[in-house]
Amino acid sequence: MDSEQIIKLSALELGKAIRNKETTSEEATKAYLDAIKENDGKYNSYITVREEALAEARIIDEKIASGELTGAFAGVPVAVKDNMCTEGVLTTCGSNMLHNFVPPYDATAVRKLKEEGMVIIGKTNMDEFAMGSTTETSFFGPTVNPWGENRVPGGSSGGSAACVAAKLAPISLGSDTGGSIRQPASFCGITGLKPTYGKVSRYGLVAFGSSLDQIGPMGRDALDVAYMLNVISGEDPKDQSSAPTDKLDLEAVKNFDVSGKTIGLPEQYFAEGMDEDVRARVMEAVKLLEQAGAKVETFPMPIMDYAIPTYYIICCAEACSNLSRYDGIKYGYAPEDVDDLMELYIRSRSEGFGMEVKRRIMLGNFVLSSGYYDAYYNKALQAKALIKKAFDEAFSKYDVVIGPVAPTAALKAGESLSDPLKMYLGDICTVLINIVGVPAISVPCGFTSDNLPVGMQIIGKHFDEQTIMGFAYAYERLSKEAKQ
C-alpha cells in the first residue's frame, strides 16, 4: 500500500490493513513521518517528532506477526499532546518552563497506547500549560489551522486537532479542562471527545485544573474515537479520582437508533452572540436527528450566564496551586546566575512562564487569598452546585443535550491574544461540561460561508459515553446519507 493510500485511512481502517498484511506498522509510521516532514512546516502542529518511532514500529510488526499484539489499533501511529508524560521523550507542555523536561515515566494513558501496540510518532503543540483557546500561547510558536492559514486551530489541544485534520496523524490524544479537546476539534473539522471526569486516568497528565482536567481521543470519525476511548479508559490506582467504568459496546454504537430518544436544546446555547452560520449548521444537524425519530425540545438554562465566571475562578484557583511546584529546582527552566533561593524561585517562574500563565496564577491567588476566598472561590463552588442541579434536571428529561461547541468557527490569528477576556468568553459553550464532569463530544456538522468547519456538541449523562457515541455515529451516517 502506498503512503498516499495509508494516510487516507481512518485509524481503525489502518489497523485492519496492518492485521490483514496489506501494509505494516513500519510502512504506516514512515508514511506519517514523511508527511510531517513535508507539511508540518506550514502547521507547526508538532513540538517533537520521533524518528525513533520507525524502529519501534518494526518491533511492533514482529509482535503482531507473532500474535502477541491483537488490538484493533496495533501498529497504528498516534500523536500525543505535549502535556502527557512520555518516558524518555521531551514533554514541554508548550512552555519554556518545561522546555528540557524528560519524564522518568509514562502517563497511564500513554502506557495504555503502548500496550495496545500503537506507535507514538510525536508530541503535539498546545497553549502553554493548556491555558488558552487558540494554541497561540505556546512557547514553540502558534499552530496554524489546516482550513485557513490565517485561522487559529483552537486550543489548547490545537496541535492534536490540526495534525489529525492535516493527515499528519491518523488519531491523537488531547486533554480538556474547559473545552480544549472539543473546541479545537470543532475548529479543525474533526471529532473529539471529552470523557466523563474519572473515565480516563490523569496520572502523568501535567496538572492544570485537577477537578476539571480529562484526557480524551481526537480522531477523524466517531468509531475511531469510540475505540480509542476503550484503549485509554479504566480505573487506575495511580489516580484516585479515576473510576471503575465499563468499556463501550462498539456494536451497540454502530446499531444505535435515535428513534424515540430525547434531545434537549438549552435556549442559552442558541442565544444572541452565536454566529448565524454556526447556529444554522447545528440546527440542521438536530433536524436530521429529529427526522430520524428523535424527540427535540428546547429548555431554559439560565445558569449558563454564570458559566464563565465560575469556571475561571475554579480553574485559576486550581492552576495557581498546581503550578506552585515549578520552582527551578527539581526540573524545568532555571536561570544560571542566581545564588539566593527566593530569587531563584522568582526568576525561574518569571522567565519560565509566559504571560497567560502568569495572569492565571495571579487570578487564582487572588480568588483564594484571605479576604476574597468567600466572595469568589466559595461563591464559585456554590454556583457549581447550582450548575450541577441544572444538568441533573435536564438529564432527568433528556437522553442528551445538544448545542454548538463554540459561538463561532475558527477565529483569525492574533484576535484573542490582545484581549484575554474576549478569549475567555469564547469558552461559553464548553466550560459548564467540565464543571459538572459530564462527557461531551464535538462532531463536525458542516461549514460556514467562509468554508470553516462547525462542530455540534453532544452532551451526555455521567459515564454515559455509550449514548453520546451512539448519537455521534448515527449523525455521521445520517449526514452522509443526506448528502447522497
Partner: protein, 95 residues
C-alpha cells in the same frame, strides 16, 4: 473590584512572580476587565446553597503504600538544573 498597584504587588508576592513594568500595566488592565466580568457572579442568588467540590461525592480511596515505581533516581536527578552525581543542588537555604 478595583485592581490597585498594591494588589498587583501582593499577587506577585503570592505567586513568586516579578512582572516587567510593561507587563505590569497590561496585567492591571486585563485583571480589571476580567474581574469586572467575574463580579457578575454576585448577581447569582446562592443563599443556602452548599459549596460543591466533587461532583460524584467520591471520598478518599485507600491502598497499601507499596513501592511499585522501581529505581528511577538517575532519570529524576537528570532533570534538575543544578545537580552533582546523585543529588539535586539548591542555593544556600540558611546562614
Amino acid at each position: 473590584m478595583e485592581i490597585t498597584e498594591e494588589l498587583i504587588d501582593y499577587l506577585q508576592k503570592l505567586g513568586r512572580i516579578r512582572l516587567s513594568e510593561e507587563d505590569r500595566q497590561k496585567t492591571m488592565k486585563d485583571l480589571g476587565s476580567i474581574m469586572g466580568y467575574i463580579d457578575k457572579l454576585n448577581e447569582l442568588d446562592t443563599t443556602g446553597v452548599e459549596p460543591l467540590s466533587h461532583v460524584f461525592g467520591r471520598t478518599n480511596v485507600m491502598r497499601e503504600d507499596e513501592v511499585t515505581s522501581g529505581d528511577c533516581k538517575d532519570k529524576i536527578i537528570s532533570n534538575a538544573a543544578r545537580k552533582d552525581e546523585d543529588t539535586i543542588l539548591v542555593p544556600r537555604t540558611f546562614d
